[in-house]
């Protein structure tokens, strides 16, 4: 007896908000390409159920100074370009970056303590060198983050950069800077649906439009809390689809930073033989971290190793294919 199976479709009331990074000359910026993410009306890639109008994108992360604490695997791959942020940015674009994520590490008081003005100049240099949109992170010291990002925001008004991080205890200055200069805020919550939602509300209450807020749910690497991030992202996406307007922001994940912090990627000696080859392991670690987060609903992946980027982009090609 032939059995007929009906497609089990869920009906959703809401969808993820669309956000465009970067502005072209016509839009008041200088980008030659922009990136639009979000808009999904389904759990990830269930094309029988709802639309995925924009593919997830990959940003390659670079530093404004040669990184001191990166895995030798990454340093070997990039070679000399790490000493020249402009050359590094160009190389990253050549290797497939849809956007550049620039971390202004040199501004950290314990690193080079670069001034806000000089940091803003670095951002301008990178903008002049590449046509893709930029995500700019502060040095990771709250007070200095604020000073630096305010200077960056003003110097690049109209470029529609994404600036981060806005966190629960430190979001006002950066959000205000985004508001005044037409940029996008990256709102990071500590793997917590409620705090994420609260932070989105606080930032939008300040007057920053919701189509200029990205959510960063905080990334746990494979083996180091990935499952927490994975589930929080599924919950945020479900809430967005169920119509909760304050969870409908596209999600950005720092897969590269986290995966390359793991001992598996960082250390080659004195580890179990069962871990296999070091170089390939690091790349696999970043790849699996990133692809798992894509399956959970990531819209922007910030990554570090171009070989992992290549596999992740192929994975995205496959997943968006109808």
């Amino acid at each position: 007896m032939p059995v007929t199976v009906e497609t089990p479709t869920e009906k959703w009331a809401g969808k993820v908000r669309e956000i465009t990074l970067g502005a072209t000359a016509a839009e008041g910026g200088t980008r030659t390409s922009t990136v639009t993410v979000g808009g999904e009306g389904t759990m990830p890639f269930l094309h029988f159920e709802g639309e995925t109008p924009h593919r997830p994108v990959v940003a390659i992360e670079i530093y404004d100074i040669a990184p001191q604490d990166w895995s030798p695997i990454l340093m070997d791959y990039w070679g000399d370009v790490v000493n020249d942020v402009v050359a590094w940015a160009k190389k990253a674009v050549e290797l497939g970056a849809d956007a550049i994520a620039l971390t202004l590490r040199g501004a950290h008081p314990e690193v080079n303590d670069r001034s806000p003005e000089d940091s803003a100049r670095v951002v301008k240099d990178v903008l002049a060198a590449v046509g893709v949109p930029l995500i700019v992170y502060g040095p990771g010291a709250p007070d200095k983050d604020n000073e630096v990002l305010v200077a960056v925001a003003e110097a690049t008004a109209g470029e529609r950069l994404a600036l981060g991080l806005c966190e629960q205890n430190n979001y006002r200055t950066i959000a205000a800077a985004c508001m005044g200069s037409g940029h996008i805020a990256v709102a990071r919550a500590p793997i917590d649906v409620n705090i994420q939602k609260q932070l989105n509300i606080l930032i939008s209450d300040m007057g920053l439009p919701l189509d200029r807020i990205l959510m960063d749910p905080t990334t746990g690497a494979l083996g180091y809390g990935l499952e927490y991030t994975y589930s929080v992202m599924e919950r945020l996406r479900l809430a967005a689809l169920q119509g909760d307007a304050m969870t409908q922001q596209p999600m950005i994940c720092t897969a590269g930073h986290e995966a390359w912090r793991a001992k598996e990627s960082k250390v080659g000696e004195g580890v179990p033989e069962a871990w296999g080859d070091w170089k390939e392991r690091g790349i696999a670690w970043e790849t699996v971290t990133a692809t798992s987060l894509i399956e959970a609903g990531a819209d922007i992946l910030v990554m570090r190793h171009p070989e992992a980027v290549a596999i992740v982009k192929k994975t995205i090609d496959q997943l968006v294919a109808k």
């Binding site: 007896m1 032939p2 059995v3 007929t4 199976v5 497609t7 089990p8 759990m43 990830p44 890639f45 269930l46 094309h47 029988f48 500590p190 793997i191 494979l222 083996g223 180091y224 809390g225 990935l226 499952e227 994975y230 589930s231 599924e234 919950r235 479900l238 912090r261 001992k263 598996e264 960082k266 250390v267 004195g270 179990p272 033989e273 069962a274 871990w275 296999g276 080859d277 390939e280 392991r281 790349i283 696999a284 670690w285 790849t287 699996v288 692809t291 798992s292 399956e295 959970a296 070989e307 596999i311 992740v312 192929k314 994975t315 496959q318 997943l319 968006v320 294919a321």
Partner: protein
Amino acid sequence: MALTGLQIYKLLPKTNCKECGVPTCLAFAMKLATKSAELSACPYVTEEAKNELEAASAPPVRLVSIGADGRKIEVGNETVLYRHDKTFYHQPGLVVRVKDTQSADEIKAVADAVCGYCVERVGLSLNVDGVAIENASGDTSAFAKAIEVVGSNANVALVLMSSVPATLDTVMPMVADRRPLLYAADAGNWQAMAEVARKYKSPLAVKVDCGDLSALATLTEDITKAGVTDLMLDPGTRSMVDSLQAMTKIRRLALRKNFRPLGFPMISFPGEGASSPLEEVAAASQHIAKYGGVIVLDHFDPTLIYPLLTLRQNIYTDPQKPIQVKPDVYPIHEPDANSPLLITTNFSLTYFTVAGEVEASGVPAWLLIADSEGLSVLTAWAAGKFDAEKIKKAVQTSGILDKIAHKRLIIPGYVAGMSGEIEEELPGWEIRVGPREAVDLSSYLKSLRS
């Protein structure tokens, strides 16, 4: 899908005879609904009602096991689509495929590697589960030889792949006691295939083309009627997006609609849609997260297996119960009264990472594990489960005070901001700030000694 007490009550005799030990049939029905009573306690229930109740209480995804002693793969019995709704119960089996066109040496090398592979992670040992042997030659004696090579090799679970029922019937006596999974019955061979599965009491995979779920459900209905009920499904999809959609539909239909014909675990082949081993890993990681039951890999390489085993452990960790270790004092390298004292939380990943680094440093030390309810340092700190008061309590009640003759405590670098508060809670103690990342502990501990 489980019936409610009232639905069960309608099927009972409603005589309130009390012979089951419960005052009324309704009360008995309520107990059945919560699984605190057995239907067999009722002497008067009809056959018909019994069948209906049994069918309703069967799990929506059948539990299927492959293999006998040694490494057994048990998959199915899942109850949710998203792990945060409860948990995923039975992690997918990872098996590696060999073909009988490969040389005996090559086959043996893979089988040995699969058998011998073991990696420790957060105190658990992670293994690869089995070997799939494909009759790629089409020749029965080559197939038998390959099975012999693999089969001589300890207790890995086996998947035998051939579309010819007679071939499987010929080789099965070699390994029938190991309960291999037979792959696969399809629309053309299912009668004979079901016959082989029934004869040797083996689980049977059922395969269709390109995600045709109606054809798949039709086949499983026919095969179930022929008496084989331990089935696994291959929807025949090979690209990542097709697999994701087909496997999601199958899981949804089983759980949301209680659709029996597709209420079985799934088998998948991530290598078949991939053009490199790393792409295979990307697809396999999708199958781990999205409902895979048995995942057949085409490459065995520790570099690629280790991330997959780690992902499987992550995804199948119960979200309500993070893996924890006992709050206690852990001596490393026989520390003495003057050895350094470090404190961290009882999230097992934190513990094993820190303990591993202290061990690697070669420096004798005391590791004090505070009860953070299984949260990691930063999360616990944010949630107030690893604050100055908790740290004071750990120091004072753990028994460490009887073991050391100094008052110096090393705290994780991420909670450096707490050192003042801890000094207030523990007067006379010197609070030292250790590194943020465990990986830097070794050089830190060595610098203390010099």
